[in-house]
């Protein structure tokens, strides 16, 4: 047995080591936040947020259509995904049985689907028929959103105390009313949290939009038209050789990051209030 002194010193060394591990993890995060703010903040202006892009080399231009496209596709994807996910989750939590087990399993498997797969899936299924469009983009985003929101909703529904369910049954309320107005209501905060996190995630997704929404230099004029999106614009500008576009990529990244982080922090505040 080594002496206590040696063992203590070893303990301190190890504390330093695990603290260093944490610090190493923080370095890229700090570097990213620093660079995004430093490179992005200078370009922010009302014009940048609302104007159409300009060709490379020309001064000015903005990301207005990309913000429009992102908002449109995320809203549409949410409208498709949220009801499907919540009702599927209600089946899993309220009825049980084989279909519940299978659905839960499938949701878990689908939630690990690489986002690019959602893109090629919707390309072969939808784009080949109706063309590159906001609708196809929104559908690709839904493929990613449905499993995550289903799991989050299911977990919050499961957490509703038994006593609440029993109270509803004891009042003689039919099952559907109990499910919709009592159980769903009690799980609302948890489901809301899951929905907001799902929205935050698809807001930043690029890969599913590459061959569905495609991108566009102009305003979107309908669900069946190719559409710009904030992450797509960042990708195209970042990989372009033009200095002015690269600078705009940082500006767009700052905007996207602020949106995503606000959603994430907002969720924490809601969850803490509970």
């Amino acid at each position: 047995m080594t002496s206590l002194g040696v063992r203590r010193i070893k303990g301190y060394l190890m504390l330093i080591l695990v603290a260093v591990a944490f610090i190493i993890i923080m370095i890229p995060l700090i570097s990213m936040l620093y660079m995004i703010i430093k490179e992005g903040i200078g370009i922010l202006s009302w014009e940048f947020l609302t104007a159409l892009p300009k060709p490379p080399g020309e001064a000015g231009g903005g990301i207005g259509n990309a913000i429009q496209g992102s908002l449109m596709m995320v809203a549409l994807a949410s409208m498709i995904s949220i009801p499907i996910s919540i009702f599927a989750a209600m089946y899993i939590s309220e009825y049980g049985g084989k279909l519940s087990t299978i659905t839960e399993f499938i949701a878990e498997v689908l939630s690990g689907t690489p986002s690019i797969i959602a893109g090629i899936f919707i390309y072969t299924l939808i784009v080949l028929r109706i063309g590159f469009s906001a609708l196809a983009g929104a559908l690709a985003l839904s493929v990613l959103m449905i499993p995550t929101v289903t799991i989050a909703s299911y977990e919050s529904l499961k957490a509703v105390p038994r006593s609440i369910r029993e109270a509803a049954i004891a009042l003689g309320v039919p099952k559907w009313r109990a499910s919709l107005f009592v159980i769903l209501r009690s799980a609302m905060v948890g489901i809301g949290t899951g929905v907001i996190l799902g929205v935050a995630r698809i807001f930043g997704e690029t890969a599913p939009l590459l061959f569905t929404a495609l991108g566009n230099m102009y305003w979107n004029e309908g669900l069946l038209e190719p559409t710009a999106a904030l992450p797509l614009l960042i990708y195209n500008y970042a990989t372009s050789p033009y200095k002015s576009w690269q600078t705009q990529a940082w500006g767009a990244a700052l905007v996207l990051l602020v949106i995503v982080l606000l959603l994430n922090i907002g969720v924490r505040i809601i969850a803490r209030k509970r």
Binding site: G11, I116, Y235
Partner: protein, 296 residues
Amino acid sequence: MEKFRIFTAVFALSLTALAMLLLTQLIISSLPVMETFGFRFVIESVWDPVKEVFGALPFIYGTLVTSFIALLIAVPLSIGAAVFLTQYISPKLSYVLSFLIEIIAAIPSVVIGLWGIFVLIPFIREEVGPFLIEYLGFIPVFQGPVYGPSILTGALILTIMIVPIITSMTKDAINTVPILQREGMIALGATRWEVITKVTLPYARPGIIGGVMLGLGRAIGETMAITMVIGNAPEIPASLLAPGDTLASVIANQFSEATSALHESALIELGLILFIITIVINICARLILRREVARG
């Protein structure tokens, strides 16, 4: 049966239908390549869209190597950070610092890729690459020249992206360790570090392994950030400092400019392979974690 049950069952079934449709669609669309190349597709190492020769090996290699290196770096870092966050500091400070790690997970992939292009690539080209060649150049995988975009750059980007999930799963696993187990050890006169290595981590091991598998699944499927930094060369480079490609990155990079129907079909079959690999890994992760829940 009650109407409401049928109503919700339709939505529950829609998830299974979606999964089936996804799989069928990928299989149907990759049929042309399957018919042309058969099993050779998986072992062929040439990818030449002009000559219409398609082999998946460079991308399988790139995917596996980048993910493996990422795990090699991310696992010790994540476990270390999780131990630091759960064992050494106050819960309040831990809450704040854990939130910082969760922020990394929330940053969109394309934004990490942007940082990769303008910060990580120059750093590899000017600092890490030359350093590795000078001091470790005798190992064949560290041969020059250094381009910047490379397998190693891709692996480092993946490392950053999987650290949050492994850290958070490890923290969860550590938190399930019964306090009595640890107190017993402390009563025997063990130092804090001995408690961690002899009781806490062994007890948490299945949960940690599950978390590592989830991290691996994420690394293998990660697309945008790695596409932006790996160099997009459909080859099997001898050096980690040379550009490569992964299953996901080649699809992102080539799909919209596919030169022929066969090319497109080959890219979709790569997607199918990717889908199957990630499904298998995720199922394994879930099974390990579920057994863990049953035990705890």
